[in-house]
């Protein structure tokens, strides 16, 4: 279910930060992974909601990009479990095609660090993930 994406997209950073992309749409996962790798991220992808928490524990990412509609367990449930568990400070960017107010409110109530709706621009997504990682790094200093 989880894959470390090959680095043929020529990473630009010396010390790659880690992002876990939990997304069941294979083609969107491929595109996002490619974009992030070019920006220097080390990307792991995971497509199953039911085992997503294990993937979070295993990869110890700096940022999680989390789709809402996943097989097995919804992104909201996964986010809730992350916040209730041992990673309350882990930056989580929620990604969904359902850009409804109630989804955004629910994500915020559960502790999402950021919420983006599909379709999005590649640049906006990269900037959002960068900002989350930078904010976390600053908080940890």
């Amino acid at each position: 279910m989880t894959h470390d994406v090959a680095s043929s997209a020529e990473p630009a950073a010396d010390t790659p930060r880690r992002v876990l992309l939990i997304e069941d749409e294979a083609n969107i996962a491929t595109a996002i992974a490619f974009i992030l790798q070019r920006e220097g991220w080390r990307v792991s992808t995971h497509s199953d909601g039911a085992t997503a928490l294990e993937a979070v524990d295993r990869h110890a990412p700096d940022v999680v990009v989390l789709d809402v509609m996943l097989p097995g367990k919804s992104g909201f449930d996964i986010l809730g479990a992350i916040r209730d568990g041992r990673r309350p400070d882990l930056p989580v960017l929620m990604l969904t095609a359902k850009g409804q107010t109630k989804d955004r409110e629910r994500a915020e109530a559960l502790g999402a660090s950021r919420f983006m709706t599909k379709p999005f621009s590649n640049r906006d997504l990269v900037d959002a993930i960068d900002a989350l990682a930078t904010a976390r790094a600053s908080a940890g200093e």
């Binding site: 083609n27 969107i28 595109a31 996002i32 974009i35 095609a97 709706t117 599909k118 379709p119």
Partner: protein, 433 residues
């Protein structure tokens, strides 16, 4: 035929001119001779379907029997004007307009109704977009695919040095996703087309049934005469099985009511008090029967959550199509005191006074630990004489009253602010509370 006098006197004039006996005409239109006598002497208001039947039996256009300008037409004209920011002075000329140009007045009203219907269609589609799982899933699929196409196309456009393997992979993805996008778009368009082609298909089952009941003025001769056996034929035209089931349940309840309190008994009564004894003290039954049978009375039934389960409007007392009614209605007061029969004179924002009878009653139980529901029923009739009345409205969204303590949402009427003070709660007479 002379266009003067009351509706009752015109019916009488026309009947006498044709040499038809009162009993014969009453029989033709399915009412008792005594009830027709009351109509002809203006002791019972008349309108809608019964007036249509009388006009048909008297071989005359319905408009020739009704008053010069019907209150319904006037109310609708004023509503259409208020919706387009007409000031109070201009609204005051509605009666003159309708009198001088009745055809144009009806055109204005029809256009207003069309606009309102279209607004409701949009609202219903928006609601469906939010709540219909099939459409939500289709839109999710569409947006997901758009997202892939956009991201992939951006990569190809903005990464000139991309290696051949990645380029081939993204080209293949783009090809597959563009096909998927086309299929998804087609599916959504097809879905929306079917909703439009289905006529009222975009309506909820409750809305379909409300339209069905309104079209029949909530009164079904066949149910009165044949009971529940007539129901399958009556609901046969409702294509949505959920709407059909809902309408059947309502008409079955009406049939039971009709059995307990027959139409001729109700028609002979002058008001709810006359019927309480024969109804065994069941005030809700009395109110439902009068509301269903008498075209001059309105009927509202709500559950404990305040949702309007049945709304039979009456000229001059518009009822909200969407949402709950005015929280100041005796209907809701009754909910807090189940079993207590309430009668109260209320005043609408236009100054018209109405007598409202209301009562709330729990459902029957089949076991002691069963769930009981509570329903309140309100019957509306124009007050015979003006007096002390409790100011209410038709429901916040369509109520022009300002500074109402019970307001829960702003009015959608553009002219609401021009009616300052008309409904200030400082005017509420304490004895009315």
């Amino acid at each position: 035929m002379a266009k003067s006098g009351s509706t009752g006197s015109r019916i009488r004039e026309r009947r006498l001119a044709l040499g038809i006996r009162q009993a014969h005409l009453a029989d033709q239109v399915g009412i008792s001779a005594s009830y027709l006598n009351l109509i002809e002497h203006d002791k019972r208001p008349i309108g809608g379907r019964l007036l249509g039947r009388l006009a048909e039996s008297l071989s005359v256009d319905q408009s020739a029997l009704s008053s010069e300008v019907s209150e319904g037409l006037l109310d609708a004209l004023r509503g259409a004007g208020a919706a387009h920011d007409l000031d109070a002075e201009a609204l005051g000329t509605a009666a003159d307009l309708a009198r001088r140009n009745p055809g144009w007045a009806r055109v204005i009203v029809r256009q207003g109704e069309t606009i309102e219907a279209q607004a409701r269609t949009i609202e219903a589609l928006a609601d469906r977009l939010t709540h219909d799982p099939a459409l939500a899933e289709a839109m999710h699929e569409l947006l997901s695919t758009v997202s892939v196409v956009r991201s992939t196309a951006s990569i190809l456009a903005q990464t000139p040095e991309i290696d051949a393997n990645w380029m081939g992979r993204f080209h293949a993805n783009l090809d597959a996703d563009s096909r998927r996008l086309a299929d998804g778009a087609e599916a959504v368009v097809s879905y929306l087309d079917s909703a439009v082609a289905g006529g009222g298909d975009h309506l909820t089952p409750a809305e379909v049934v409300a339209r069905f009941l309104d079209a029949n003025q909530h009164s079904f001769d066949a149910v009165e005469e044949q009971g529940a056996a007539a129901i399958p034929d009556l609901v046969a035209d409702l294509t949505d099985p959920r709407a059909r089931r809902l309408a059947t349940a309502i008409l079955e309840a009406d049939a039971q009511d009709a059995k307990r309190l027959p139409r001729d008994v109700v028609e002979a009564a002058t008001g709810p008090d006359d019927l309480l004894a024969v109804a065994g003290g069941d005030a809700a039954l009395v109110l439902r029967r009068l509301g269903v049978i008498d075209p001059a009375r309105g009927l509202v039934v709500t559950d404990a959550a305040g949702a309007l389960l049945r709304r039979k409007p009456v000229e001059g007392f518009p009822l909200p199509i969407v949402g709950a009614g005015c929280p100041l209605w005796p209907l809701y007061q009754a909910l807090s005191q189940p079993g207590r029969a309430i009668v109260q004179t209320i005043e609408m924002p236009d100054g018209a006074q109405w007598v409202a009878h209301a009562v709330a009653a729990p459902s029957a139980v089949t076991r002691f630990d069963g769930v009981q529901t509570l329903r309140a029923t309100m019957l509306l009739a124009r007050a015979a004489r003006p007096g002390v009345a409790f100011p209410v409205g038709p429901g916040c969204r369509v109520c022009p009253r300002k500074d109402c303590v019970a307001r829960r949402e702003p009015s959608v009427l553009p002219g609401a602010e021009q009616m300052e003070g008309a409904g200030s709660m400082t005017k509420v007479p304490q004895q009315a509370l």
